[in-house]
Protein backbone atom coordinates (compact mmCIF):
# COMPACT_ATOMS: atom_id res chain seq x y z
CA UNK A 1 0.00 0.00 0.00
CA UNK A 2 2.73 2.43 0.98
CA UNK A 3 4.90 1.79 -2.04
CA UNK A 4 2.37 1.40 -4.82
CA UNK A 5 1.86 3.95 -7.60
CA UNK A 6 -1.15 6.22 -7.95
CA UNK A 7 -2.27 4.19 -10.93
CA UNK A 8 -2.21 1.02 -8.84
CA UNK A 9 -4.01 2.73 -5.96
CA UNK A 10 -6.63 3.89 -8.43
CA UNK A 11 -7.13 0.30 -9.64
CA UNK A 12 -7.37 -1.04 -6.10
CA UNK A 13 -10.04 1.55 -5.37
CA UNK A 14 -11.93 0.84 -8.60
CA UNK A 15 -11.86 -2.91 -7.94
CA UNK A 16 -13.11 -2.24 -4.37
CA UNK A 17 -10.11 -4.06 -2.92
CA UNK A 18 -9.72 -1.09 -0.64
CA UNK A 19 -11.89 1.90 0.16
CA UNK A 20 -10.76 5.51 0.22
CA UNK A 21 -11.70 5.62 3.90
CA UNK A 22 -9.34 2.69 4.63
CA UNK A 23 -6.61 4.28 2.57
CA UNK A 24 -6.93 7.61 4.36
CA UNK A 25 -7.01 5.89 7.76
CA UNK A 26 -3.85 3.94 6.90
CA UNK A 27 -1.94 7.09 6.06
CA UNK A 28 -3.36 9.11 8.97
CA UNK A 29 -2.27 6.37 11.34
CA UNK A 30 1.22 6.39 9.85
CA UNK A 31 1.34 10.17 10.17
CA UNK A 32 0.25 9.85 13.79
CA UNK A 33 3.17 7.49 14.46
CA UNK A 34 5.93 9.20 12.49
CA UNK A 35 5.07 12.89 12.34
CA UNK A 36 6.29 13.59 15.90
CA UNK A 37 9.79 12.71 14.62
CA UNK A 38 9.61 14.12 11.08
CA UNK A 39 7.40 17.23 11.57
CA UNK A 40 6.21 17.01 7.96
CA UNK A 41 2.60 18.02 8.67
CA UNK A 42 1.52 21.16 10.50
CA UNK A 43 -2.25 20.68 10.33
CA UNK A 44 -4.37 17.53 10.23
CA UNK A 45 -8.17 17.35 10.25
CA UNK A 46 -9.26 13.73 10.44
CA UNK A 47 -12.96 14.63 10.22
CA UNK A 48 -12.57 16.62 7.03
CA UNK A 49 -10.26 14.07 5.39
CA UNK A 50 -12.58 11.18 6.21
CA UNK A 51 -15.65 13.10 4.99
CA UNK A 52 -13.91 13.59 1.64
CA UNK A 53 -12.93 9.91 1.60
CA UNK A 54 -16.55 8.84 2.21
CA UNK A 55 -17.70 11.11 -0.62
CA UNK A 56 -15.03 9.58 -2.85
CA UNK A 57 -16.16 6.07 -1.99
CA UNK A 58 -19.69 7.06 -2.97
CA UNK A 59 -18.43 8.38 -6.33
CA UNK A 60 -16.51 5.15 -6.91
CA UNK A 61 -19.57 3.07 -6.02
CA UNK A 62 -21.63 5.13 -8.46
CA UNK A 63 -19.07 4.55 -11.22
CA UNK A 64 -18.18 8.23 -11.39
CA UNK A 65 -14.53 7.99 -10.40
CA UNK A 66 -11.68 9.76 -12.19
CA UNK A 67 -8.01 8.67 -11.83
CA UNK A 68 -7.39 10.50 -8.52
CA UNK A 69 -10.79 9.90 -6.90
CA UNK A 70 -10.30 8.68 -3.34
CA UNK A 71 -6.53 9.23 -3.31
CA UNK A 72 -5.15 11.17 -0.33
CA UNK A 73 -2.88 14.08 -1.24
CA UNK A 74 -0.75 16.06 1.22
CA UNK A 75 -1.15 19.77 0.50
CA UNK A 76 1.68 22.24 1.00
CA UNK A 77 0.48 24.79 3.52
CA UNK A 78 0.88 27.55 0.92
CA UNK A 79 -2.40 26.49 -0.73
CA UNK A 80 -5.52 28.00 0.84
CA UNK A 81 -8.13 25.34 1.58
CA UNK A 82 -11.56 26.38 2.80
CA UNK A 83 -12.09 25.63 6.48
CA UNK A 84 -8.47 24.52 6.89
CA UNK A 85 -5.89 26.47 8.84
CA UNK A 86 -3.49 27.81 6.20
CA UNK A 87 -0.29 29.24 7.69
CA UNK A 88 2.39 29.38 4.97
CA UNK A 89 4.79 28.32 7.73
CA UNK A 90 4.42 31.69 9.47
CA UNK A 91 3.36 32.99 12.86
CA UNK A 92 1.72 35.77 10.86
CA UNK A 93 -0.91 33.31 9.57
CA UNK A 94 -0.80 30.81 12.44
CA UNK A 95 -4.46 31.58 13.25
CA UNK A 96 -5.70 31.95 9.65
CA UNK A 97 -8.49 29.58 8.64
CA UNK A 98 -8.95 30.10 4.93
CA UNK A 99 -12.43 31.19 3.81
CA UNK A 100 -11.79 29.94 0.25
CA UNK A 101 -10.04 27.29 -1.85
CA UNK A 102 -7.01 27.82 -4.03
CA UNK A 103 -7.59 26.82 -7.67
CA UNK A 104 -5.29 23.83 -7.13
CA UNK A 105 -7.40 22.70 -4.16
CA UNK A 106 -10.60 23.16 -6.19
CA UNK A 107 -9.12 21.02 -8.96
CA UNK A 108 -8.27 18.22 -6.53
CA UNK A 109 -11.71 18.48 -4.92
CA UNK A 110 -13.35 18.28 -8.34
CA UNK A 111 -11.29 15.16 -9.08
CA UNK A 112 -12.54 13.57 -5.85
CA UNK A 113 -9.08 13.48 -4.24
CA UNK A 114 -8.79 13.70 -0.45
CA UNK A 115 -6.90 16.44 1.40
CA UNK A 116 -4.74 14.41 3.79
CA UNK A 117 -3.36 17.43 5.67
CA UNK A 118 -1.23 20.54 5.31
CA UNK A 119 2.54 20.18 5.09
CA UNK A 120 5.27 22.15 6.78
CA UNK A 121 7.36 24.57 4.74
CA UNK A 122 9.87 27.39 5.01
CA UNK A 123 8.12 30.57 6.15
CA UNK A 124 6.41 32.12 3.12
CA UNK A 125 8.43 29.64 1.02
CA UNK A 126 11.64 31.54 1.76
CA UNK A 127 14.33 28.98 2.44
CA UNK A 128 16.15 25.94 1.13
CA UNK A 129 16.14 23.76 4.23
CA UNK A 130 12.73 24.08 5.91
CA UNK A 131 14.44 25.58 8.93
CA UNK A 132 12.72 28.97 8.62
CA UNK A 133 9.28 27.50 9.44
CA UNK A 134 7.52 28.93 12.49
CA UNK A 135 6.53 25.32 13.25
CA UNK A 136 10.10 24.06 13.45
CA UNK A 137 12.28 22.22 10.96
CA UNK A 138 11.24 19.12 9.03
CA UNK A 139 13.56 16.12 9.23
CA UNK A 140 14.82 14.21 6.23
CA UNK A 141 13.83 10.53 6.62
CA UNK A 142 17.13 9.50 4.96
CA UNK A 143 18.96 10.94 7.96
CA UNK A 144 17.03 12.75 10.65
CA UNK A 145 19.96 15.05 11.45
CA UNK A 146 19.82 16.38 7.87
CA UNK A 147 17.45 18.83 6.22
CA UNK A 148 14.84 17.73 3.65
CA UNK A 149 15.51 20.85 1.55
CA UNK A 150 13.02 23.60 1.06
CA UNK A 151 10.81 25.29 0.80
CA UNK A 152 8.48 22.31 0.12
CA UNK A 153 10.32 20.19 2.71
CA UNK A 154 7.22 18.91 4.50
CA UNK A 155 5.73 17.65 1.24
CA UNK A 156 9.05 16.05 0.24
CA UNK A 157 9.45 14.25 3.57
CA UNK A 158 5.78 13.19 3.56
CA UNK A 159 6.21 11.44 0.21
CA UNK A 160 9.72 10.07 0.91
CA UNK A 161 8.72 8.60 4.29
CA UNK A 162 5.51 7.20 2.76
CA UNK A 163 3.27 9.36 4.96
CA UNK A 164 1.34 10.31 1.81
CA UNK A 165 1.06 8.78 -1.66
CA UNK A 166 1.67 12.20 -3.24
CA UNK A 167 1.88 15.88 -2.37
CA UNK A 168 1.82 19.36 -3.82
CA UNK A 169 4.63 21.87 -3.74
CA UNK A 170 5.46 25.30 -5.04
CA UNK A 171 8.69 26.42 -6.67
CA UNK A 172 9.98 30.00 -6.80
CA UNK A 173 13.70 29.26 -7.04
CA UNK A 174 13.86 25.48 -6.68
CA UNK A 175 11.41 24.77 -3.87
CA UNK A 176 9.95 21.65 -5.52
CA UNK A 177 13.07 20.32 -7.22
CA UNK A 178 15.70 20.75 -4.47
CA UNK A 179 13.67 19.05 -1.69
CA UNK A 180 12.67 16.31 -4.18
CA UNK A 181 16.38 15.74 -4.87
CA UNK A 182 17.37 15.76 -1.20
CA UNK A 183 14.68 13.24 -0.22
CA UNK A 184 14.87 10.92 -3.24
CA UNK A 185 11.48 11.67 -4.80
CA UNK A 186 10.24 13.07 -8.12
CA UNK A 187 8.86 16.58 -8.54
CA UNK A 188 8.06 18.89 -11.41
CA UNK A 189 7.77 22.66 -11.62
CA UNK A 190 5.71 23.33 -14.73
CA UNK A 191 6.11 26.18 -17.22
CA UNK A 192 5.19 29.49 -15.55
CA UNK A 193 1.45 30.08 -16.06
CA UNK A 194 0.46 26.39 -16.27
CA UNK A 195 -0.84 25.98 -12.70
CA UNK A 196 -3.00 28.82 -11.35
CA UNK A 197 -1.54 30.88 -8.51
CA UNK A 198 -5.02 31.77 -7.24
CA UNK A 199 -5.07 30.96 -3.54
CA UNK A 200 -1.41 29.98 -3.50
CA UNK A 201 0.02 32.47 -1.00
CA UNK A 202 2.27 34.84 -2.93
CA UNK A 203 6.03 35.09 -2.47
CA UNK A 204 7.50 36.35 -5.78
CA UNK A 205 4.63 36.41 -8.23
CA UNK A 206 6.64 36.45 -11.47
CA UNK A 207 8.45 33.28 -10.38
CA UNK A 208 6.00 31.29 -8.19
CA UNK A 209 4.58 28.11 -9.71
CA UNK A 210 2.81 25.16 -8.11
CA UNK A 211 3.50 21.56 -9.06
CA UNK A 212 3.32 17.92 -7.93
CA UNK A 213 5.74 15.89 -5.80
CA UNK A 214 5.44 12.11 -5.85
CA UNK A 215 7.31 8.82 -6.04
CA UNK A 216 7.54 8.69 -9.84
CA UNK A 217 7.24 10.66 -13.06
CA UNK A 218 4.12 8.70 -13.95
CA UNK A 219 2.47 9.79 -10.69
CA UNK A 220 3.52 13.38 -11.33
CA UNK A 221 1.92 13.27 -14.80
CA UNK A 222 -1.42 12.16 -13.29
CA UNK A 223 -1.23 14.88 -10.65
CA UNK A 224 -0.30 17.58 -13.13
CA UNK A 225 -3.28 16.58 -15.26
CA UNK A 226 -5.44 17.67 -12.34
CA UNK A 227 -3.44 20.70 -11.19
CA UNK A 228 -2.91 22.41 -14.57
CA UNK A 229 -5.51 24.47 -16.33
CA UNK A 230 -6.58 27.98 -17.15
CA UNK A 231 -8.02 30.10 -14.36
CA UNK A 232 -9.23 33.63 -15.02
CA UNK A 233 -8.54 34.63 -11.40
CA UNK A 234 -4.77 34.43 -11.97
CA UNK A 235 -3.84 37.19 -14.41
CA UNK A 236 -0.79 35.22 -15.55
CA UNK A 237 -2.64 31.91 -16.07
CA UNK A 238 -2.14 30.82 -19.66
CA UNK A 239 -5.23 30.05 -21.75
CA UNK A 240 -4.16 26.84 -23.43
CA UNK A 241 -5.95 23.66 -24.41
CA UNK A 242 -6.02 21.03 -21.67
CA UNK A 243 -3.33 18.44 -22.34
CA UNK A 244 -2.65 14.90 -21.11
CA UNK A 245 0.79 15.02 -19.51
CA UNK A 246 0.94 11.22 -19.51
CA UNK A 247 0.48 10.96 -23.27
CA UNK A 248 4.17 10.48 -24.11
CA UNK A 249 5.26 8.32 -21.18
CA UNK A 250 5.73 5.20 -23.29
CA UNK A 251 7.71 6.91 -26.06
CA UNK A 252 11.21 5.40 -26.57
CA UNK A 253 14.17 7.72 -26.00
CA UNK A 254 15.91 7.05 -29.33
CA UNK A 255 16.93 10.36 -30.81
CA UNK A 256 16.39 12.41 -27.63
CA UNK A 257 19.05 15.11 -27.54
CA UNK A 258 20.21 15.97 -24.04
CA UNK A 259 22.14 19.20 -23.48
CA UNK A 260 24.70 19.21 -20.67
CA UNK A 261 25.52 22.74 -19.53
CA UNK A 262 29.22 22.85 -18.78
CA UNK A 263 28.55 25.44 -16.04
CA UNK A 264 26.53 22.79 -14.13
CA UNK A 265 29.46 20.39 -13.95
CA UNK A 266 32.07 22.88 -12.75
CA UNK A 267 33.56 23.75 -9.37
CA UNK A 268 31.19 23.60 -6.42
CA UNK A 269 29.62 20.30 -7.50
CA UNK A 270 30.31 17.58 -4.94
CA UNK A 271 32.04 14.44 -6.20
CA UNK A 272 29.29 12.08 -5.05
CA UNK A 273 26.57 14.08 -6.81
CA UNK A 274 28.69 14.33 -9.97
CA UNK A 275 29.20 10.56 -10.01
CA UNK A 276 25.49 9.76 -9.64
CA UNK A 277 24.51 12.28 -12.34
CA UNK A 278 27.19 10.95 -14.74
CA UNK A 279 25.89 7.43 -14.20
CA UNK A 280 22.35 8.58 -14.97
CA UNK A 281 23.55 10.22 -18.19
CA UNK A 282 25.31 6.98 -19.16
CA UNK A 283 21.98 5.19 -18.62
CA UNK A 284 20.25 7.71 -20.89
CA UNK A 285 22.83 7.08 -23.62
CA UNK A 286 22.23 3.35 -23.20
CA UNK A 287 18.51 4.02 -23.68
CA UNK A 288 19.24 5.67 -27.03
CA UNK A 289 19.58 9.32 -26.12
CA UNK A 290 22.43 11.47 -27.31
CA UNK A 291 24.27 14.01 -25.12
CA UNK A 292 25.74 17.27 -26.34
CA UNK A 293 27.71 19.86 -24.41
CA UNK A 294 26.00 23.24 -24.21
CA UNK A 295 26.68 26.46 -22.35
CA UNK A 296 24.51 28.63 -20.11
CA UNK A 297 27.10 31.38 -19.64
CA UNK A 298 25.07 33.57 -17.29
CA UNK A 299 24.32 30.80 -14.75
CA UNK A 300 26.40 32.38 -11.98
CA UNK A 301 24.41 35.62 -12.33
CA UNK A 302 21.14 33.86 -11.59
CA UNK A 303 21.71 34.00 -7.82
CA UNK A 304 22.36 37.77 -7.59
CA UNK A 305 19.50 38.45 -10.02
CA UNK A 306 17.13 36.23 -8.03
CA UNK A 307 18.11 37.83 -4.71
CA UNK A 308 17.10 41.21 -6.10
CA UNK A 309 13.92 40.25 -7.93
CA UNK A 310 12.42 37.74 -5.48
CA UNK A 311 12.87 39.99 -2.40
CA UNK A 312 11.59 43.00 -4.37
CA UNK A 313 8.40 41.14 -5.28
CA UNK A 314 8.15 39.70 -1.77
CA UNK A 315 8.45 43.09 -0.10
CA UNK A 316 5.50 44.25 -2.16
CA UNK A 317 3.43 41.06 -1.75
CA UNK A 318 4.00 40.82 1.99
CA UNK A 319 2.97 44.44 2.59
CA UNK A 320 -0.56 43.04 2.98
CA UNK A 321 0.28 41.57 6.40
CA UNK A 322 -0.61 44.59 8.50
CA UNK A 323 -2.60 43.08 11.36
CA UNK A 324 -5.85 44.71 10.22
CA UNK A 325 -7.93 42.29 8.14
CA UNK A 326 -6.58 38.85 9.03
CA UNK A 327 -3.63 37.12 10.62
CA UNK A 328 -1.51 38.07 13.60
CA UNK A 329 -1.70 41.42 15.40
CA UNK A 330 0.75 42.45 18.12
CA UNK A 331 -0.94 42.37 21.53
CA UNK A 332 0.34 45.80 22.57
CA UNK A 333 0.97 48.93 20.52
CA UNK A 334 0.59 52.70 20.47
CA UNK A 335 -0.48 54.41 17.25
CA UNK A 336 -1.25 52.87 13.86
CA UNK A 337 2.35 52.92 12.62
CA UNK A 338 3.50 51.32 15.85
CA UNK A 339 0.85 48.63 15.41
CA UNK A 340 2.10 47.84 11.87
CA UNK A 341 5.75 47.82 12.94
CA UNK A 342 5.25 45.64 16.00
CA UNK A 343 2.86 43.27 14.20
CA UNK A 344 5.37 42.73 11.41
CA UNK A 345 8.37 42.54 13.74
CA UNK A 346 6.67 39.82 15.81
CA UNK A 347 4.72 38.04 13.05
CA UNK A 348 7.58 37.48 10.59
CA UNK A 349 10.69 35.38 11.23
CA UNK A 350 14.27 36.56 10.59
CA UNK A 351 14.67 35.26 7.00
CA UNK A 352 11.38 36.81 5.86
CA UNK A 353 12.34 40.13 7.47
CA UNK A 354 15.75 40.06 5.79
CA UNK A 355 14.16 39.51 2.40
CA UNK A 356 11.50 42.16 2.90
CA UNK A 357 14.23 44.62 3.85
CA UNK A 358 16.44 43.71 0.87
CA UNK A 359 13.42 44.09 -1.39
CA UNK A 360 12.47 47.40 0.17
CA UNK A 361 16.01 48.66 -0.33
CA UNK A 362 16.37 47.64 -4.00
CA UNK A 363 13.02 49.25 -4.82
CA UNK A 364 13.71 52.47 -2.90
CA UNK A 365 14.32 55.82 -4.57
CA UNK A 366 17.86 56.08 -5.91
CA UNK A 367 18.51 52.32 -6.06
CA UNK A 368 15.68 51.11 -8.29
CA UNK A 369 17.63 51.35 -11.56
CA UNK A 370 20.91 50.06 -10.18
CA UNK A 371 19.35 46.98 -8.63
CA UNK A 372 15.84 46.19 -9.79
CA UNK A 373 16.03 47.25 -13.44
CA UNK A 374 19.57 45.92 -13.73
CA UNK A 375 18.39 42.54 -12.45
CA UNK A 376 15.48 42.50 -14.90
CA UNK A 377 17.89 43.13 -17.78
CA UNK A 378 20.11 40.28 -16.64
CA UNK A 379 17.02 38.11 -16.32
CA UNK A 380 16.54 38.52 -20.06
CA UNK A 381 20.14 37.45 -20.72
CA UNK A 382 19.59 34.34 -18.59
CA UNK A 383 16.39 33.50 -20.51
CA UNK A 384 18.25 34.01 -23.82
CA UNK A 385 20.91 31.51 -22.75
CA UNK A 386 18.21 28.84 -22.53
CA UNK A 387 16.62 29.87 -25.86
CA UNK A 388 20.05 29.49 -27.45
CA UNK A 389 20.64 26.12 -25.77
CA UNK A 390 17.30 24.67 -26.89
CA UNK A 391 18.39 25.13 -30.52
CA UNK A 392 20.89 22.35 -29.86
CA UNK A 393 18.93 19.95 -27.64
CA UNK A 394 15.45 18.74 -26.59
CA UNK A 395 16.04 18.74 -22.85
CA UNK A 396 18.80 19.91 -20.54
CA UNK A 397 20.12 17.69 -17.76
CA UNK A 398 22.41 18.16 -14.80
CA UNK A 399 22.42 18.02 -11.03
CA UNK A 400 19.46 19.51 -9.14
CA UNK A 401 21.56 20.48 -6.14
CA UNK A 402 25.36 20.75 -5.81
CA UNK A 403 25.34 18.58 -2.67
CA UNK A 404 23.18 15.98 -0.95
CA UNK A 405 21.17 16.98 2.12
CA UNK A 406 23.20 19.10 4.53
CA UNK A 407 23.02 18.97 8.32
CA UNK A 408 20.32 20.80 10.26
CA UNK A 409 21.81 24.08 11.44
CA UNK A 410 24.77 23.88 9.06
CA UNK A 411 23.75 26.87 6.94
CA UNK A 412 21.01 28.48 8.97
CA UNK A 413 23.25 31.25 10.34
CA UNK A 414 24.72 32.14 6.97
CA UNK A 415 22.02 33.28 4.51
CA UNK A 416 24.43 33.68 1.61
CA UNK A 417 25.77 30.11 1.82
CA UNK A 418 22.16 28.88 1.93
CA UNK A 419 21.34 30.92 -1.19
CA UNK A 420 24.24 29.38 -3.12
CA UNK A 421 22.74 25.90 -2.74
CA UNK A 422 20.11 26.86 -5.34
CA UNK A 423 22.61 27.62 -8.10
CA UNK A 424 21.23 25.02 -10.58
CA UNK A 425 17.52 25.62 -10.06
CA UNK A 426 17.02 29.40 -9.92
CA UNK A 427 17.72 30.23 -13.56
CA UNK A 428 14.84 27.96 -14.62
CA UNK A 429 12.37 30.11 -12.64
CA UNK A 430 13.84 33.33 -14.00
CA UNK A 431 13.30 32.04 -17.55
CA UNK A 432 9.86 30.60 -16.65
CA UNK A 433 10.79 27.15 -17.99
CA UNK A 434 9.62 23.77 -16.68
CA UNK A 435 12.09 21.82 -14.55
CA UNK A 436 11.97 18.56 -12.66
CA UNK A 437 14.07 16.42 -10.35
CA UNK A 438 14.34 12.66 -10.56
CA UNK A 439 16.18 10.43 -8.05
CA UNK A 440 19.36 9.03 -9.66
CA UNK A 441 21.39 7.40 -6.91
CA UNK A 442 23.19 8.25 -3.71
CA UNK A 443 26.17 10.36 -2.70
CA UNK A 444 29.21 9.21 -0.73
CA UNK A 445 27.20 9.85 2.44
CA UNK A 446 24.40 7.50 1.35
CA UNK A 447 21.95 10.36 0.84
CA UNK A 448 19.82 10.73 -2.31
CA UNK A 449 20.94 12.62 -5.41
CA UNK A 450 18.55 14.26 -7.88
CA UNK A 451 18.96 14.56 -11.63
CA UNK A 452 17.47 17.80 -12.93
CA UNK A 453 15.66 17.79 -16.27
CA UNK A 454 14.85 21.18 -17.82
CA UNK A 455 12.60 21.44 -20.84
CA UNK A 456 11.61 24.16 -23.25
CA UNK A 457 8.33 26.01 -22.60
CA UNK A 458 5.38 23.55 -22.45
CA UNK A 459 7.66 20.50 -22.85
CA UNK A 460 6.38 18.85 -19.66
CA UNK A 461 5.09 15.74 -21.47
CA UNK A 462 8.50 15.19 -23.09
CA UNK A 463 10.32 15.68 -19.76
CA UNK A 464 7.98 13.29 -17.97
CA UNK A 465 8.56 10.83 -20.81
CA UNK A 466 12.35 11.11 -20.37
CA UNK A 467 11.98 10.66 -16.61
CA UNK A 468 9.56 7.74 -16.91
CA UNK A 469 11.71 5.80 -19.36
CA UNK A 470 14.66 6.24 -16.99
CA UNK A 471 12.50 5.02 -14.09
CA UNK A 472 11.50 1.93 -16.10
CA UNK A 473 15.20 1.10 -16.46
CA UNK A 474 16.31 1.98 -12.91
CA UNK A 475 14.92 1.55 -9.42
CA UNK A 476 16.27 4.61 -7.55
CA UNK A 477 12.76 6.02 -7.30
CA UNK A 478 11.56 2.83 -5.58
CA UNK A 479 14.07 3.08 -2.76
CA UNK A 480 12.47 4.03 0.53
CA UNK A 481 14.50 5.40 3.43
CA UNK A 482 15.54 2.58 5.80
CA UNK A 483 13.17 2.41 8.76
CA UNK A 484 10.34 4.08 6.87
Amino acid sequence: MLNVSLKELSSLLAEKKISSVELVQTFLQRIGELNPVLNAFVTLDTEKSLAQARAADALIAAGKATPLTGIPIAQKDIFCARGWRTTCGSKMLSNFVSPYDAHVIEQFNRAGAVNLGKTNMDEFAMGSSNETSFFGPVKNPWGTSTVPGGSSGGSATAVAARLAPAATGSDTGGSIRQPAALTGITGIKPTYGTVSRYGMIAFASSLDQGGPMAKSAEDCALLLNVMAGFDSRDSTSLARDKEDYARDLARPLQGLKIGLPREYFATGLSAGVARAVEAALAEYRRLGAETVEISLPNTRLSIPVYYVLAPAEASSNLARYDGVRYGYRAPQYGDLTDMYQKTRAQGFGPEVKRRIMIGTYVLSAGYYDAYYIKAQKLRRLIARDFAQAFRQCDVIMGPTSPTTAFKLGEKSDDPVSMYLSDIYTIAVNLAGLPGMSVPCGFGDDGLPVGLQIVGNYFAEARMLNAAHQYQLATDWHRRAPPGF
Partner: protein
Protein backbone atom coordinates in the same frame (compact mmCIF):
# COMPACT_ATOMS: atom_id res chain seq x y z
CA UNK B 1 27.93 49.75 -1.77
CA UNK B 2 28.14 49.28 1.98
CA UNK B 3 25.25 50.03 4.31
CA UNK B 4 25.35 52.05 7.51
CA UNK B 5 23.34 51.54 10.66
CA UNK B 6 21.21 54.52 9.66
CA UNK B 7 20.47 52.87 6.30
CA UNK B 8 19.24 49.76 8.11
CA UNK B 9 16.95 51.84 10.30
CA UNK B 10 15.63 53.73 7.28
CA UNK B 11 14.96 50.48 5.39
CA UNK B 12 13.23 48.96 8.42
CA UNK B 13 11.08 52.07 8.68
CA UNK B 14 10.12 51.87 5.00
CA UNK B 15 9.35 48.16 5.42
CA UNK B 16 7.23 48.90 8.51
CA UNK B 17 9.20 46.49 10.68
CA UNK B 18 10.28 47.49 14.17
CA UNK B 19 14.01 46.85 14.58
CA UNK B 20 15.71 47.41 17.93
CA UNK B 21 19.20 48.85 18.32
CA UNK B 22 20.95 45.51 18.88
CA UNK B 23 18.97 43.79 16.14
CA UNK B 24 19.95 46.54 13.71
CA UNK B 25 23.62 45.55 14.09
CA UNK B 26 22.80 41.98 13.07
CA UNK B 27 20.80 43.14 10.06
CA UNK B 28 23.62 45.48 9.06
CA UNK B 29 26.05 42.61 8.56
CA UNK B 30 23.48 40.22 7.03
CA UNK B 31 22.02 42.73 4.58
CA UNK B 32 25.52 43.91 3.66
CA UNK B 33 26.63 40.38 2.82
CA UNK B 34 23.51 39.81 0.69
CA UNK B 35 24.12 43.09 -1.14
CA UNK B 36 27.73 42.02 -1.59
CA UNK B 37 26.49 38.91 -3.39
CA UNK B 38 24.17 41.02 -5.53
CA UNK B 39 26.98 43.42 -6.44
CA UNK B 40 28.28 40.90 -8.98
CA UNK B 41 25.53 42.09 -11.35
CA UNK B 42 27.17 45.45 -11.85
CA UNK B 43 30.14 43.93 -13.71
CA UNK B 44 27.95 42.92 -16.68
CA UNK B 45 27.18 45.35 -19.47
CA UNK B 46 23.43 45.44 -20.10
CA UNK B 47 23.22 48.45 -22.43
CA UNK B 48 20.32 48.09 -24.84
CA UNK B 49 18.82 45.05 -23.09
CA UNK B 50 15.08 45.30 -22.48
CA UNK B 51 14.18 44.56 -18.81
CA UNK B 52 12.28 41.29 -18.42
CA UNK B 53 9.43 41.55 -15.91
CA UNK B 54 7.72 38.28 -16.71
CA UNK B 55 8.38 34.85 -18.13
CA UNK B 56 5.59 35.02 -20.68
CA UNK B 57 4.78 38.03 -22.83
CA UNK B 58 1.13 38.17 -21.90
CA UNK B 59 -1.16 41.17 -21.79
CA UNK B 60 -3.71 41.70 -19.08
CA UNK B 61 -7.06 40.21 -19.97
CA UNK B 62 -10.25 42.24 -19.90
CA UNK B 63 -13.50 40.79 -18.60
CA UNK B 64 -17.12 41.73 -18.69
CA UNK B 65 -18.03 44.28 -16.03
CA UNK B 66 -20.29 41.84 -14.25
CA UNK B 67 -20.65 40.71 -10.64
CA UNK B 68 -18.52 37.61 -10.11
CA UNK B 69 -18.35 37.38 -6.31
CA UNK B 70 -20.98 36.63 -3.73
CA UNK B 71 -21.33 38.63 -0.51
CA UNK B 72 -19.14 37.00 2.13
CA UNK B 73 -18.63 40.01 4.34
CA UNK B 74 -19.35 38.12 7.57
CA UNK B 75 -16.86 35.34 6.70
CA UNK B 76 -14.10 37.81 5.99
CA UNK B 77 -14.77 40.05 9.00
CA UNK B 78 -14.62 36.98 11.21
CA UNK B 79 -10.92 36.65 10.35
CA UNK B 80 -9.96 40.11 11.57
CA UNK B 81 -8.17 40.69 14.89
CA UNK B 82 -10.63 43.42 15.88
CA UNK B 83 -13.97 44.46 14.39
CA UNK B 84 -16.91 46.52 15.57
CA UNK B 85 -20.24 47.15 13.89
CA UNK B 86 -18.99 45.52 10.69
CA UNK B 87 -15.84 47.67 10.54
CA UNK B 88 -12.14 46.88 10.99
CA UNK B 89 -10.78 48.57 14.10
CA UNK B 90 -7.36 50.25 14.14
CA UNK B 91 -5.82 52.86 16.47
CA UNK B 92 -7.08 56.39 15.96
CA UNK B 93 -5.48 58.02 12.90
CA UNK B 94 -7.20 61.45 12.90
CA UNK B 95 -6.99 63.63 15.98
Amino acid sequence: MSLTLDDVKRIAHLACIEVGESEAQGYLSQLSSILGLVEEMQAVNTDGIEPMAHAQDVVLRLREDAVSETDRRADYLALAPQVEAGLYLVPKVIE
